[in-house]
């Protein structure tokens, strides 16, 4: 205790000095707005840095449980992709196209001209000639619209023609159905100089007003080289499984009227 008094007596000036300086700086920081803000921001950046470092360490320590969580989520998402239960999510929205989610209420795949009926109609903004897609790919085009329902000319219809494009080389062709098996269609009007490989992917060209570009149509299954001149034909496997179709999106082109007013003949 005595030593403490000796110490205080010896360094009294320094102690008074430090106390007064601390008092002054507290006064400055408390009373002057600029200094106050500055102090807060400096202390925030220091504490923020500390928190960031500790959270980095924590993240590392929790990697294992985090991995398990991610794996579970992956499994969940994959199962959802499989049964196509994705409802209208924001990823499907952009400026040009609006997507109207709908349920399939009637579906046929064994006729020459197959039609799908959905539970959305004119009251929901469905109009004839709109494109219909699902999570897996293209479905077809709207044919007739009633108040609450609409009929769709599916890809499995000899009257349906969809303009599409090879992903690899951007060449454009048309996809039709040959009335054989619901998993396969035909790619017609392929320039004959084009080398077609099995597995080549076709997506919508975006040239029709019904579909946005880059919607999956299918992959080449077999090259049917009929050697009849300028165009060749290939067998296509639809990416959409029409027999299990449940949820679809009707594509509304927001600029259809504007495009039509330019008198493009279709």
């Amino acid at each position: 205790m005595y030593n403490l008094f000796i110490f205080i007596k010896k360094y009294s000036a320094a102690i008074v000095f430090i106390l007064l300086e601390i008092l002054c700086i507290i006064l400055v920081v408390q009373s002057l707005p600029y200094h106050n803000r500055k102090m807060v921001s400096v202390s925030n950046s220091i504490s923020g840095g500390i928190h960031k470092t500790t959270s980095n360490w924590n993240d590392y320590l929790h990697l294992k449980s985090e991995n398990e969580l991610l794996a579970e989520q992956n499994a969940l998402l994959l199962s959802r992709l499989g049964c196509d239960e994705v409802e209208a999510d924001t990823a499907y929205y952009d400026d040009k196209f609006t997507y109207i989610p709908a349920h399939v209420v009637d579906n046929n795949i064994y006729e020459t001209n197959n039609y799908i009926v959905i539970d959305k109609g004119s009251i929901d903004g469905i109009e004839p000639d709109m494109g219909v897609i699902c999570g897996e790919g293209v479905v077809g085009k709207v044919l007739n619209v009633s108040k609450h329902y609409a009929s769709i000319m599916s890809m499995l219809n000899t009257k349906t023609i969809v303009s599409c494009r090879f992903v690899d080389n951007q060449y454009v062709a048309n996809v039709v159905w040959d009335n054989e098996y619901y998993r396969y269609g035909l790619v017609k009007d392929i320039p004959s100089h084009l080398v077609i490989n099995v597995g080549d992917t076709l997506v919508t060209s975006g040239f029709s007003n019904s579909f946005p570009a880059d919607i999956m149509v299918g992959t080449i299954e077999e090259n049917l080289d009929d050697e009849n001149g300028i165009f060749s034909t290939a067998k296509l496997k639809f990416s959409t499984n029409f027999s299990t179709l449940r949820h679809v999106y009707v594509v509304k082109n927001n600029f259809k009227a504007e495009i039509d007013s330019l008198c493009i003949t279709r």
Partner: protein, 170 residues
């Protein structure tokens, strides 16, 4: 003793009034701002205890601050200056030189010594003051320029004041 106290009180009030009413309104450019009230701390007798130097520095600095609306700014700088004063006296004089002297004034120690002593103290005072005002290491260049321009100007004004009020002090 009584005489010294009266003189100190008059000096204290006069310097604060001059600082607040006149010199706080002088800003030459962005860099020169004279601080003359520190003369009070400079002229305190040699035998003033350290803690009294600090407390008086705090009081006069805080008084100027209250008029300026910057509580703590001048006080911090002046307390720092008061704390450094014994060391500055220590490095600029020999012990035998100040044995028979009462206060570090121009009349007792000579103009040349006082210029050095005053300049060193003003540099310390202004350095802390301008740095606290800027409150940023990024503005160090500006702060140093302010210090190097303001301290000599303040010293010049302080010398003028000493010669103008010479009869009052003696």
């Amino acid at each position: 003793m009584y005489n010294t106290l009266i003189r100190n009180i008059i000096r204290f009030i006069a310097l604060v009034v001059m600082q607040v009413l006149v010199f706080d309104n002088i800003r030459l450019g962005n860099y020169i701002h004279p601080y003359i009230y520190v003369l009070f701390i400079m002229l305190l007798p040699f035998d003033t205890p350290k803690w009294r130097l600090l407390v008086e520095g705090f009081v006069i600095g805080m008084l100027v601050d209250l008029f300026n609306g910057t509580p703590g700014l001048n006080a911090a700088a002046t307390v720092f200056m008061a704390y450094m004063r014994p060391y500055i006296i220590g490095i600029t004089t020999r012990k035998s030189d100040i044995e028979d002297k009462t206060a570090p004034s121009v009349s007792e120690m000579g103009l040349q010594w006082f210029l050095l002593y005053g300049l060193l103290l003003l540099l310390l005072h202004n350095l802390l003051l301008f740095w606290l005002e800027a409150f940023s290491i990024r503005l160090l260049g500006t702060v140093l320029l302010q210090v190097l321009l303001s301290a000599p100007f303040s010293l010049f004004v302080i010398i003028l004041i000493i010669y103008v009020f010479k009869p009052l002090k003696k």
